[in-house]
């Protein structure tokens, strides 16, 4: 196989490494996906997120699904969110 990057070892060794890597990645993802939360205060935020259903992963403000409500709650634009969308588009 032609390679763009060149890790050392035979194809068999590299395939074995890939398999081990996939298992490790699946194990790591599995731990996070299991719903486990560290005991005590360290897991408090996580448990809070689970109870309230808060997505803590957005990188940018437009990725926060309820950003409009959060913003409206501070700026008094709540009533605008009740108005129909002038473009007829869906709202989050």
């Amino acid at each position: 196989m032609e390679n763009g990057t060149l890790p050392v070892g035979s194809l068999r060794t590299r395939c074995f490494r890939l398999l081990v890597g996939i298992v490790l990645l699946a194990a790591v993802a599995g731990v996070f996906a299991s719903g486990y939360a560290p005991p005590g205060p360290l897991g408090e935020v996580l448990r809070h997120n689970q109870v309230k259903g808060i997505d803590a992963s957005p990188l940018f403000y437009t990725e926060v699904e309820n950003m409009r409500e959060l913003e409206a709650g501070l700026t008094g634009r709540d009533k605008r969110t009740e108005e129909p969308d002038r473009f007829g588009g869906k709202t989050d």
Partner: protein, 439 residues
């Protein structure tokens, strides 16, 4: 030096602008009203693809998206002659599939609660392949990291609405816009003068990620100063780890200290890197705190466009300038990363043309054009960019970027300074100068 109009179709920077503008135009014209994305799932992995759901499967939509984005970007690749179109398309399909896998992991409900975004999983998926079996050449042909990043940034420009900066009035602006530039300048100078970091690009990426908005700012800074992929990987890795730590620890510390909720929220909004983690941490202090934290972060997010422009200008006029040479306007224009013009231009287009044309209702603009279309396109481009970075990186190169732990030291010192200054300014803004700003 290739001058003239030919650069408009021969440079990747300009192609990123064209791709971004075409996709933005598809949204504004109503040609595209929604873009498929991998759904959040809980117990059944097939829910991510909508298989068996009442709304129907998204498999066909994903296939069409892959074909559409592949065909669009292949035109640029073919015209630039950076790759044969056929080879690129085969590689693009592979990269897109890996991006789907990354989104699939990231969109598991419990994974989202940890604040682990698609960027992390995309990097890991790419790194897994490149560091074990090796990235095959056919796949590498589709890993156009810079093209994906720059196109994603032009699309991100549409999400930066300047009107947002007044959402919390003067106190919000004080916390988000006074502290941030000071921290960037402090960290850059600390890195180059005190730590004597050789890699100035890594220093500015870490400074922006720490003080603005984590991964998004790191991407914008890296592209603006034309940093290496390893620099971005390192900065993103650090910011993702510290974001989770700060999300866990800051609300506990604020509660323990008995700090005022609004002050604590403004503090977290100004210091925790990513918006999702800010919302989660703010929510721990109550509904008002959640709103203050989120809006402070949002105001800070808007800075990203100005910052990218400033970094690009600083790099071409100061850092990359030949010693003794004068940087005239033509030379600056030649070396200036053109996609930044698309990035800032998209922001200006939406802030000062699209929103006013919509009667000033930026919520409607967000709901119609940005959230369902340009934001999702941008997410796909960034996700593919991180997969591509992983496919092109190896752990040995990453270790080589560490300069004896200096980047980590920069992050810790810079974030400590950020924490101190943000708390001071937030206290002044929300407790002393405008005590009734938030009720």
């Amino acid at each position: 030096m290739s001058n003239g109009a030919s650069t408009l179709w021969k440079s990747e920077d300009w192609w990123a602008v064209w791709f971004g503008l075409i996709l933005i135009a598809s949204s504004l014209s109503g040609s595209v009203t929604s873009v498929p994305k991998i759904r959040t799932w809980n117990d059944n992995p097939l829910d991510a693809l909508g298989i068996g759901s009442p709304e129907g499967s998204i498999l066909l939509s994903l296939l069409l998206l892959m074909i559409g984005l592949g065909a669009l970007t292949a035109i640029g690749v073919a015209v630039m002659k950076s790759e044969r179109a056929g080879r690129y398309l085969a590689g693009f399909a592979g990269v897109f599939a890996l991006a789907c896998v990354s989104y699939w992991i990231a969109n598991q409900a419990n994974v989202k609660y940890w604040g682990l975004s698609y960027a992390l999983w995309a990097l890991l998926v790419g790194l897994l392949i490149s560091n074990t079996i090796g990235t095959p050449r056919w796949l590498m042909a589709g890993a156009k990291t810079e093209m994906f990043i720059k196109t994603g940034l032009v699309l991100l420009g549409a999400e930066i609405l300047f009107k947002k900066i007044v959402s919390l009035g003067a106190p919000g602006l004080m916390v988000a816009w006074i502290v941030t530039p000071i921290v960037v300048v402090f960290m850059y100078n600390f890195a180059t003068r005190v730590l004597k970091m050789v890699n100035k690009k890594l220093a500015i990426i870490i400074a922006c990620a720490t003080s603005v908005c984590g991964v998004s700012a790191a991407i914008a800074a890296a592209a603006s100063c034309r940093a290496k992929k390893e620099d971005l990987t390192l900065a993103v890795g650090m910011t993702l780890i510290f974001t989770v730590l700060m999300m866990f620890l800051m609300p506990l510390g604020i509660k323990w200290a008995g700090m005022n909720d609004v002050l604590g929220a403004a503090w977290m909004g100004g210091t925790i890197d990513s918006t999702g983690a800010v919302v989660a941490a703010g929510s721990m202090l109550g509904p008002t705190a959640e709103r203050v934290a989120a809006v402070v972060k949002m105001i800070q997010n808007v800075l990203i466009g100005l910052l990218a422009f400033a970094i690009a200008l600083y790099w071409v006029t100061r850092v990359d300038r030949e010693p003794g040479s004068k940087a005239d306007v033509r030379e600056i224009w030649y070396r200036f990363p053109k996609f930044v013009i698309g990035f800032v231009g998209a922001s200006i287009l939406f802030s000062f043309i699209v929103v006013p044309l919509a009667g000033g209702d930026f919520n409607a603009v967000e709901a119609t054009y940005i959230r369902p279309v340009t934001r999702v396109f941008r997410g796909w481009f960034f996700c593919m960019a991180f997969v591509a970075i992983g496919l092109e990186s190896n752990f040995r190169d990453l270790v080589g970027q560490m300069e004896g732990g200096k980047p980590l030291m920069l992050y810790v010192v810079g974030q400590s300074f950020n924490l101190f200054l943000t708390l001071l300014v937030a206290w002044l803004a929300f407790m002393v100068i405008f005590p009734g700003a938030v009720r």
